[in-house]
């Protein structure tokens, strides 16, 4: 099997060299162990066995798998997706020469090289290259189906913070994991979440104990390297009373002609007075200029603001993937709890994005803010889809939503689908949406001052997205700004 993979990798390398638009489009020669292609109960058992999981975990997976077989793919999003053959993919790919977790020295140097190339500080270095004043960042690196390294563990443990791959956490902290796993996103929530329950292979678990302010940024970098492989990671973050954590997530994948599936589930819980800040820069391979290849990104992200005064803030910069289907949401149960959603989604060429949020206000005095900036170029389609719901008993709820769309060129589409459902008169709900293009005057002005067309567009787009970008931790903001420019290359004549 390995030979075949190497041949395929070679072909991918060649393809990667031909098209240099996608910065992270190279794949790498890592020997990989696959589960047999296809998806049956045996696949689920294989994954569970590979992970040495306890019985309850296997039962949970099988239950999910059996239910998944009865479900249908959702069709309500403004997305045009050819039928996916779930049997024509690998559900588990593990780099051979598996490192002993926790010991960086034993990580395959080739993998380290990849992360280095991605600019991710997998070594315990304090500063990201080229960014002054950067803080420490602890990293969990997920390579295909497994977590290959988690850094700064000792320092985090001194603060009482648990930062583990989820497969380790299932074994080491079964009670904590069982208490919350599947409680925020129930097993039967939706087609892709249920699939994830059955076949998730790795991901990150974070627990911040009561009163602890996590001493550094935590982050996970996801990389799909192997071909024909789906990635199904699962993240669970529990912020106990009065704690705080800022978590970053970055994603890349090599260029492949086939579409690859990514179906992740992220669950967050914030108890009384706890705050979670969750930032994503999603740069999965978007496919080529003709719309061939690219990642199908079906992600279920949800936060439970369970405690009084709890707060969860989602910030996302979505530039990658052929298809994005993603609605990071907040269930605001706690009194005076706060939910925030800041999003920039860029689509170019034939990309399709249907993304937004749900703010479910059940708690008295709960507040939410939604700022969505969609940028459509090429032949792409970019949809904001959101729900703001106020329950009858939720007094004094506030929501403000701002959805702005920017169209570049006349072949793309920009759509806004906000749902507003209010059942309590004391709510104050405001929604505003605008659609605009970059004016000729703006372009001329910028170019007259010496910028070329692409630089001018990048500048104006960054200004358009500024409100969201400034929510990102500084290290990410710089990266995200560059990414916006790169994603729109070739979009101006």
């Amino acid at each position: 099997m390995t030979d075949e993979i190497e041949v395929k990798d070679k072909a991918a390398w060649d393809a990667a060299e031909k098209v240099a638009d996608y910065e992270h489009g190279w794949s790498s020669d890592i020997e990989t162990d696959f589960a047999p292609k296809g998806l049956t109960e045996d696949t689920v058992r294989f994954i569970s066995a590979k992970k040495n999981e306890p019985e309850w975990m296997l039962d949970w997976r099988l239950k999910a798998f059996r239910h998944w077989l009865t479900m249908e793919t959702p069709d309500w999003a403004k997305l045009n997706i050819p039928p996916i053959d779930y049997q024509d993919a690998y559900y588990y790919a593990e780099p051979k020469a598996k490192p002993k977790l926790g010991s960086l020295d034993e990580v395959d140097p080739e993998i380290l090289r990849i992360y280095e190339k991605l600019g991710i500080p997998i070594a315990e270095q304090e500063v990201l290259a080229g960014v002054e004043g950067a803080r420490k960042v602890a990293v969990d690196a997920v390579f295909d189906s497994v977590s290959v390294a988690t850094t700064f563990r000792a320092e985090l443990e001194r603060a009482g913070v648990i930062f583990r791959s989820i497969s380790e956490a299932i074994k080491e902290y079964p009670d904590l994991v069982r208490k919350w796993l599947g409680k925020i996103v129930p097993m039967h929530d939706n087609y892709f979440a249920t699939l994830n329950c059955a076949v998730f292979s790795d991901g990150t678990f974070v627990y911040i104990p009561e009163g602890v302010r996590c001493p550094m940024e935590l982050s996970t970098y996801f990389r799909i390297n192997a071909e024909n492989t789906g990635q199904f990671e699962r993240t669970l973050i529990v912020a106990d009373k009065g704690s705080y954590v800022s978590y970053l997530e970055g994603c890349t994948a090599p260029m492949r002609d086939e579409n690859q599936l990514h179906a992740a589930v992220v669950e967050l819980v914030a108890l009384d007075d706890a705050e979670i800040k969750y930032s994503t820069v999603q740069n999965w391979y978007p496919g080529d200029a003709e719309g061939k290849g690219g990642i199908y990104n079906f992600v279920t992200k949800r936060a439970l603001c369970q405690g009084r005064n709890s707060k969860v803030s989602w910030t996302q910069v979505e530039t990658g993937s052929a298809v994005t289907w993603k609605y990071p949401s907040c269930v605001l149960n706690g009194e005076n709890s706060v939910g925030e959603f800041y999003s920039v989604a860029v689509t170019n060429n034939y990309q399709q994005a249907d993304t937004g949020t749900k703010m479910i206000h059940n708690g008295k005095g709960s507040r939410s803010t939604i700022v969505s900036k969609g940028i459509s170029a090429g032949h792409s389609n970019n949809t904001y889809r959101g729900l703001v719901r106020v329950a009858p008993n939720a007094e004094g709820v506030r929501n403000f939503t701002q959805c702005d769309s920017l169209l570049l060129g006349s072949l793309s589409g920009a759509h806004t689908v906000p749902y507003i459902e209010v059942r309590n008169p004391s709510a104050q709900i405001e929604h505003e949406a605008t659609t605009s293009k970059i004016s000729d005057d703006q372009m001329f002005y910028a170019m007259q001052r010496g910028l070329n067309a692409e630089e001018a567009v990048a500048l104006i787009v960054n200004g358009f997205a500024k409100e969201v970008l400034q929510q990102l931790p500084m290290e990410f903001a710089v990266e995200a700004q560059k990414l916006l420019g790169i994603s729109l290359e070739g979009s101006v004549g």
């Binding site: 906000p418 507003i420 008169p425 004391s426 659609t435």
Partner: protein, 242 residues
């Protein structure tokens, strides 16, 4: 041709009183209105008996259409407009929905800008008391060639009781880049400070409420041929409610 009655899974009926819809099913064909090029069309719809109105309106080149809707009557009242705008045409919609008790009132619009330089404006004001539900599902679709489209949706709802529900979905589907499309939506209750200000000047609470609700819907029927009739009917319903 009329398949089975819709369910809540159907986007356009997601907040409807399904039992009432089933009772009315099958619906007669929608009324088709063609406004010829350069023409001028005006229509007033007063829904006061619990019916479903469906109108298809095609507005020709350079033509104008204005629809004013007062949606107040019956247990389930729905007004559905399917509007297509051709070059340089103009569409104006003014809607007031006032509901109490267990009423379900809906205004559902699809406004398609099929050609360039057309304008559309939709103003919807809902006042809901008791266990009433008021819904606005409004889609503005701008076709690929419909450059210089100018479209506005202004949606506001006022809830008078904690048992009332307001739903809104001001949707945009845009395929042209040189357009001005804006929508605004606000849902809330009467400003308590405003009510106090009126009372501090000597106006009784019920009158203060009425005055502010009148102000809330003021202007929606401005310029309508039936402006006075509509205003009087709206006020009468308000008086019943407060």
């Amino acid at each position: 041709m009329n398949p089975s009655a819709p369910t809540r899974r159907d986007e356009a009926w997601r907040y409807s009183d399904i039992a009432a819809v089933e009772a009315a099913w099958p619906l007669p064909a929608a009324e088709a209105i063609v406004v010829p090029a350069g023409g001028n069309f005006e229509r007033t719809i007063v829904q006061d008996s619990g019916t479903i109105h469906q109108l298809d309106i095609a507005i020709g080149k350079g033509a104008a259409a204005a629809i004013h809707v007062l949606n107040i009557g019956g247990d389930y009242g729905r007004v559905e407009l399917n509007v297509t705008l051709h070059e340089k045409s103009d569409f104006k919609l003014g809607v007031v929905q006032i509901g109490g008790n267990t009423q379900t009132l809906e205004i559902v619009t699809t406004v398609t800008h099929a050609q360039p330089k057309a304008r559309s404006s939709q103003i919807v004001r809902s006042i809901l008391a008791g266990k009433a539900t008021g819904t606005y599902l409004g889609k503005v679709a701008v076709a690929r060639d419909a450059q210089l489209t100018d479209s506005v949706q202004s949606v506001k709802a006022m809830l008078l009781d904690r048992s009332a529900t307001a739903n809104a979905k001001p949707e945009l589907e845009i395929y042209a880049d040189d357009v001005k499309c804006a929508h605004g939506c606000a849902i809330g209750e009467l400003d308590p400070m405003g009510l106090f200000y009126l009372q501090a000047r000597g106006i009784a609470p019920a009158d203060a409420k009425k005055l502010m609700l009148q102000a809330f819907v003021a202007g929606v029927f401005e310029g309508a041929a039936d402006e006075e009739m509509l205003t009087v009917a709206a006020l009468k319903k308000l008086v019943d409610l407060v």
